[in-house]
Amino acid sequence: MLNSVLSIAAPLILAAVAGYLPFRAGILNIGLEGLMALGAFFGFIAAAASGFWLMGVLAGSLAGAMAAAFFAWTVLRLEANIFLSGLGLNLAAAGFLGIASQMAFGTKGVLRPAILNTSRTFPPDHGIIPVLAAGFAFTALMLIMSKTRWGHRVIAAGEAPETLENLGHPVKMVRLQTLVLSGIGCGAAGALLALDIGAYVPNMTGGRGWIALVALYIAGKSPLGLLATVLLFSAANATATVLQGMTGIPDSLLLASPFFITFLGLVAAGALRTLAESRQRRKERDLTADEVRG
């Protein structure tokens, strides 16, 4: 169970970490899904052609970075609407991948190693690699955001862009950097997804980029909250998978449960926070009352 939770969570964490940076810098990157898809395609091809999974991850990251840089150009330079442009990135990625796959391999369908005339498969215990990568990315994020000057600059770009500009750091540059990093992270996430399966399947990202976005929104500014949200969602998913094997609960109904559980988690978190706040307020009031008396 823990294994499945982690393996579901790993690509989500990577994508969410990737989305976190531009999110914090004031740009919501709606295109995570498309970036992951590009990473999956190029990651698979490079890994299958070279036989090294690491090559796949590198190629996926590179593809993601380039697409993200293009996205950055549209929103930072052309000043296109962030939401529409992100939607455009997703559409363009889907369109581009279909055409590229058709031109290079004669099919828009599943790509297996055999299509590149290799029978190379990826290491059998590869399932651990995405988990390690996710763990590394998350730890790096925590350190960067709390300890480094660059991380603080990202926060400033999101919360007080004028001020950051005034300090001599071009806001657009910081945003560009976070976007490119998000491309790298999503590309790697997509590549690992494909390498985990050992094949490229069109649409195989299956909405993971969107889920990462939701997790970002739920967690807000807190990286730990982000981790908790992703883990909660993954646990709900893993539970649904196991429950499908037991009779009684309609299978397709269980597909709603990850959203439902996350929704309930959100309600619970909100209710708890509200409760805590009102208690805090009461405490403060008691304090003053004492002081006034004393």
Binding site: K108, D196, I197, A199, N203, G206, Q244
Partner: protein, 325 residues
């Protein structure tokens, strides 16, 4: 190229009943073996005849849009014949033919009778499910001599043909082979999430399933990945799947939808397709089978198992045994 074809058409004056054909794919071609077969079959038929043009139109996954898209094909008046495949299509074609009675439809893998615009050609999917189930039962029984065996089925989504024909046929086949069999049926939720497919299959293998029939489009790839990791087997459906993952795909059923598409299209071109009637075929007619002549099949399975399967397949072919509806 189509331009040359046009000039050829101008020179050669041999118009059949059908000059241009639209193939309407309710979904997308890539990743769906049956749709690939349909396109292949129609194109093969057209290749034999000069002056017949084929356009392939993908309708996408939203079944709500199929009616509109099919209507615009009919409305354009550009096509003498529209070929499509899917059990849901006959009713949609019937709806379209009410507004466009002059349009002609050839529907594979579906059934309707009495509409003068439509000819249908149905495959008995229950039989295909049964074959796969029989094989699954044999494999499971070989691994576990006593008690109830567990067989697996992963579908992309729950859809009528799956619930009505394939799943019950599969269960029935497994019981016929193994005596008592429990079916572990799970749903991915879409036709592409290979990661989810892998999760589901992994969990099924852990809970004692030895072999899984995968009918989940691209998500099948995840089932294969999980099977490779667990050292278990996968059964392929509709088309030969041994080459997809030799050694992991241990069995494969097949329907001859390509052949049917070619034959029926040819008939239509010659003007001999009896619109308004319907045909139904299965194992006995030779349109559904289990592929037994692939090395991956012979090499990975025991002599005994293969003999049992092939004998039963023979009985089904010659009609001495029938799949109960």
């Amino acid at each position: 190229s189509p331009k040359e074809a046009q000039t050829e058409e101008a020179q050669q004056e041999a118009p059949g009943a059908v000059g241009s054909i639209a193939v309407f794919v309710p979904g997308v071609v890539a990743g769906s073996p049956t749709y690939e077969m349909m396109v292949e079959g129609v194109e093969a038929a057209a290749r034999g005849k000069s002056g017949v043009e084929v356009s392939v139109v993908e309708g996408g996954f939203n079944q709500g849009e199929w009616l509109t898209k099919l209507s615009s094909l009919a409305a354009s008046g550009r096509y003498d014949l529209i070929v499509t495949s899917n059990p849901a299509m006959p009713e949609i074609c019937a709806e379209v033919s009410r507004s466009y009675p002059e349009a002609r439809f050839l529907v594979l893998d579906g059934h309707i009778e009495g509409n003068p615009s439509i000819f249908t050609f149905r495959f008995n999917q229950r039989e295909q499910g049964y074959l796969a189930g029989y094989f699954a039962g044999l494999v499971a029984r070989e691994k576990q001599a006593e008690g109830t065996v567990k067989v697996g089925l992963i579908a992309g989504q729950e859809y009528p043909e799956m619930l009505r024909s394939i799943r019950p046929g599969y269960q029935q086949g497994a019981e016929a082979a193994a005596g008592t069999a429990e079916l572990d049926f799970r749903v991915v939720g879409n036709w592409y999430d290979a990661g989810k497919g892998s999760e589901l299959a992994g969990d099924m293998f852990r809970s004692g399933v030895n072999v899984i029939l995968a009918i989940a489009g691209g998500a099948n790839q995840g089932v294969i990945s999980a099977a490779q990791e667990a050292g278990k087997g996968v059964i392929w459906f509709d088309s030969s799947g041994y080459d997809v993952a030799p050694g992991t795909v241990i069995g494969s059923t097949r329907i001859y939808l390509d052949r049917a598409a070619r034959e029926m299209t040819l008939k239509a071109i010659e003007g001999e397709l009896p619109f308004g009637s319907a045909e139904s075929v299965g194992i006995a007619e030779g349109y559904i089978t289990f592929i037994t002549d692939h090395p991956a099949y012979t090499e990975n399975l025991s002599q005994e198992l293969r003999e049992k399967l092939e004998n039963h397949l023979e009985e089904l072919k010659n009609g001495s045994v029938k799949v109960q509806e």
